[in-house]
């Protein structure tokens, strides 16, 4: 039964209190995890680059992010002369609120009983579920765009233009790979998506010794596409062209100081935590895992998987150089979107269970892939010819 069983017996004071307490807990947990993530990232990157990282504030530098936050809070909030005041103040809020809200749909465990009320270990379980995440990530674009525009200077505007194009491009690939998951689970409820990945994998009446996570059920490719798209969506390295320091002086938030800057910083790291949570829910079974000493320990497995992703994002940042803008657009539009569309068709065909559909879709995909390769090579040749003619015209002039 999807939806939160908390509301089965109508709404009363106890139910409202439980909802409020859950909201406060989620708020605090997300905030603390951001403080942790900032410290974690700086420490891990420090060690990967053979240096120590922050080690002054508190034991092992663990209070560094708290100290940074306090410092930013007391700095002067500058307002550029050409800024659009109201929008300039609104933009950081538009960036940070969606980042907070995404975590409310992530299930971190099964159900618990508080004072005879059964409730899920997630803040809300709305029928639009995973669409809510897509909706919020499309609203988050506004924070970046409006910050860049309202600053009233060139480099932030360039950052905003880059950001909007990048986020829109990768949203399509992200949505299509989520669609592959939704086709399998048959529900938009995040709780149903998580619980549908319980147990062992079945393939043609055989049991495979792998967990029935969507990672395997969708044949791995949508997961990889989703990871790349999410990294681009959060403008994390290697897709951080939005704030490329060497090119556009810090990008969309270059003019922000004090609290405005702190909110963007908060939103960025919060997105890493919440999107890792969403990835775990969609592809890695959410809180699914073996029982320990006869107890079901969903939250433990959830946090463990979350950590794996947090580490992966830091690892990517320390390892990969930044993409060039045309490479970014090529990857998004010419590789990821066709690949995710093809995988969606394939997963849907396998789900029908009829051999005719699978063979038909596979033939179609091969033909489509050949046509796409041909189109791409023709396009690349045309670009080369054009570039050569432009260069010739330049020499003549």
């Amino acid at each position: 039964m999807p939806g939160d069983p908390l509301f089965n017996n109508g709404l009363n004071l106890a139910v409202a209190l439980i909802v409020i307490i859950k909201a406060i807990i989620v708020f605090v947990v997300v905030l603390v995890s951001v403080l942790f993530m900032v410290m974690f990232e700086r420490k891990v990157i420090g060690h990967m680059q053979n240096r120590i990282g922050p080690n002054r504030a508190g034991p092992f530098g663990s209070l560094q992010s708290l100290a940074d936050g306090t410092k930013l809070f007391f700095k002067e909030a500058l307002l550029p002369a050409k800024a659009d005041k109201r929008i300039y103040r609104l933009a950081p809020i538009l960036a940070v609120v969606p980042a907070f809200l995404v975590f409310s749909i992530v299930p971190i465990g099964g159900t618990i009983t508080i004072a005879h009320h059964v409730t899920r270990l997630q803040l809300v379980d709305p029928p639009w579920g995973i669409l809510f995440m897509l909706m919020l990530s499309s609203i988050a674009v506004y924070g970046v765009m409006l910050a860049g525009w309202s600053s009233g200077s060139k480099y932030p505007l360039l950052g905003a233009v880059r950001a909007s194009a990048q986020m829109i491009s990768y949203e399509a690939a992200m949505g299509l790979s989520i669609a592959a998951v939704v086709v399998l689970s048959g529900s938009l409820h995040t709780s149903a998506i998580a619980s549908g990945q319980h147990g062992l994998l079945h393939f043609r009446n055989h049991t495979v010794p792998l967990p029935a996570w969507n990672l395997f059920r969708t044949w791995v490719v949508p997961f990889i596409i989703f990871m790349i798209a999410v990294t681009a969506e959060m403008h994390r390295p290697p897709f951080d062209l939005v704030e490329a320091e060497e090119e556009i002086a810090g990008g969309f938030n270059a003019e922000y100081s004090s609290l405005g800057f702190a909110l963007f910083y908060l939103a960025e790291f919060m997105n890493v935590v919440t999107m890792s949570g969403v990835t775990v829910t969609l592809f890695l079974g959410g809180p699914d895992g073996p029982r320990i000493l006869g107890h079901s320990v969903g939250p433990f497995w959830f946090v463990l998987k979350l950590f794996a992703f947090l580490y992966t994002y830091v690892w990517l940042r320390a390892t990969l150089p930044r993409f060039r803008y045309d490479q970014l657009m090529d990857l998004g539009w010419k590789r990821l979107i066709p690949a995710s569309l093809g995988m969606l068709l394939f997963v849907a065909a396998v789900r029908t269970g009829s051999r005719g559909w699978v063979i038909g879709v596979m033939v179609g995909l091969v033909v489509g892939a050949i046509a796409l390769m041909r189109a791409l090579s023709v396009g690349a040749r045309t670009t080369e010819v054009e570039a050569a003619s432009i260069a010739r015209a330049g020499r003549r002039a």
Binding site: P127, W128, L134, M135, S138, Y142, M145, L146, V161, I168
Partner: protein, 179 residues
Amino acid sequence: MGGSHLALVHGLNVAQQIAFFALAGAMVLSALRMVTTKNLVHAALYLTVVLAGAAGLYILLAAEFIAVTQVLVYIGAIVVLMLFGLFLTRAPLGTGQDLDNNQRWLAAIIALFLFGVLGVTLQKGFKGTHVNAIPITDGGSNTAAIGVSIFHDFVVPFEVASILLLAALVGAVVIARRD
């Protein structure tokens, strides 16, 4: 007339009515500000408020899937593309430029005409009929029912619409090509 009107009010939830008028008021105000503001980016943002209000109206009608799609498509893609276009082209980005032209009265007449046509059509078509909403199942959601009706009952119109959009897409690419 008076009696039927009263019956209508009785049949509806009071909270729903209040929310409807609050949303409708906000939408009308934002729509007015959108066409009167002197700043193109502000106009786009007022448009966002109008579209979000429409999404709110869909939620009031228990059509949450349509509401989320409205936000995803209109606010998340179309207005963002408009802003993107404004940023990329040399459109006036500051305040105070003359964005007006002398077609104000023509526009007002056309708007009134459209309002009249739509109002009369709705009045003639649905007067006194009770519109059956898609039943809510699956823990308070009718998304599955919408999916079945699109891909089962109305699959041909759906496919025709998608071909139309594809044609528009290809057309845009052809127009935007450099040669």
